[in-house]
Symmetry: C2
Subunit: 217 residues, 2 copies
């Protein structure tokens, strides 16, 4: 997974290239930021993703600018980041963030084969809400046509991770000021029923699984 | 703040252009994803930011690839996203995410004036840890020189917000499956002392303020 452009140039001790680390970071998130070159310059947009093995699936409306641009097969970069803590040092210079991030380079390709497109939709759905694909009504022809599915290979991806306490200069250790880490994490709350939901219907397994999956990860 | 390229093309009812909304989204976050064109194609990287009025400050090491590329004044795009919930519908097609996002277009310029550079550093520090600039040791000459500060104007920015329950098709409302929203939010934990911290030193005001600021926002 290491190529010239995925080599982490700054702080190389934070660069990690094994697939396991990359997949862990991706599977702890469902939002990525995708960048591509539009006519007027670079564009970065947030979008959802799902992962299946070495493939990342993205989706969107057939009318969306991003997808219209990308389906031609233009190069993209995508980044996925978890923030784990604010690192508070004695010197401002040594302040930092604990985080896990993955940066991907590749060419996003539209998935046109019907079976593969359905598979991509299922991967995306079940990445965010495990098992939801079999609980909800599946796309009808119009919905299927209105949705574009893109795939992006993970063969050119790198992870960068910072963990642990601040690293202060020895001369600063005697300062009378607090140093340490403020943990930051994602939480989920109690699911909120849709106002038009029959009150006899309780949350489904996919909702309970998602509530756990996206909490404190 | 509305230009041709910040016009939200998809779901225009979600596009919001007032400065207040844009600033609220930015001030609820400290991480952005910046995209630019490197020689080999688009690159998206996570980085910290601070906001002062209509200016976003970014920083990094003078050796960092991103900053070396950007300081020449190349066009960039930056996106900031808060995820607020997973929207669970009866149909897979109407699943969504509640979120608040800002996308910025502009040219990142290096801040070279000493006073303005110090100001940018202070803005960035106090955005993440309000008041920390006056608590910690400020940069010495070597640290100041090793740090690059960039500024990016917010005059070409747009916000996109989705709130509320799923919107299912009328024909799907009778389905025997749960629909609603799983709230997602950011939390902070109890600050963890650095192992080399004198146990008599307790957390400073900036740490307590940051703990509140970045919780459940």
């Amino acid at each position: 997974m290491k190529s010239e452009r995925t080599t982490v140039r700054r702080l190389p001790e934070r660069g990690q290239y094994d697939a396991e680390t990359i997949y862990e970071v991706l599977d702890a998130n469902f939002l990525c930021h995708v960048g591509f070159n539009a006519d007027h310059g670079p564009v970065v947009l947030p979008t959802l993703f799902g992962r299946d093995g070495e493939t990342m699936y993205l989706h969107g409306s057939a009318g969306a600018h991003m997808l219209r641009t990308m389906k031609g097969g233009v190069p993209v970069s995508a980044a996925v980041t978890s923030v784990d803590g604010i690192v508070v040092a004695r010197s401002l210079f040594n302040h930092s963030i604990n985080y896990r991030s993955v940066v991907i380079f590749g060419v996003a390709e539209e998935v046109t084969d019907v079976q593969e497109k359905l598979h991509g939709m299922e991967v995306l759905t079940n990445h965010i809400l495990p098992g939801r694909w079999d609980e909800a009504r599946q796309p009808n022809t119009a919905e299927f046509t209105q949705t574009i599915v893109l795939k992006l290979g993970l063969d050119e991806a790198s992870a960068k991770v910072r963990v642990g306490p601040p690293h202060d200069h020895e001369d600063d250790l005697a300062m009378d000021v607090w140093a340490g880490v403020i943990p930051v994490f994602t939480s989920t709350g109690e699911p909120i029923d849709a106002s038009d939901l029959d009150s006899k219907i309780s949350t489904s397994p996919s909702v309970q699984t998602a509530k756990q999956r996206w909490s404190a990860s």
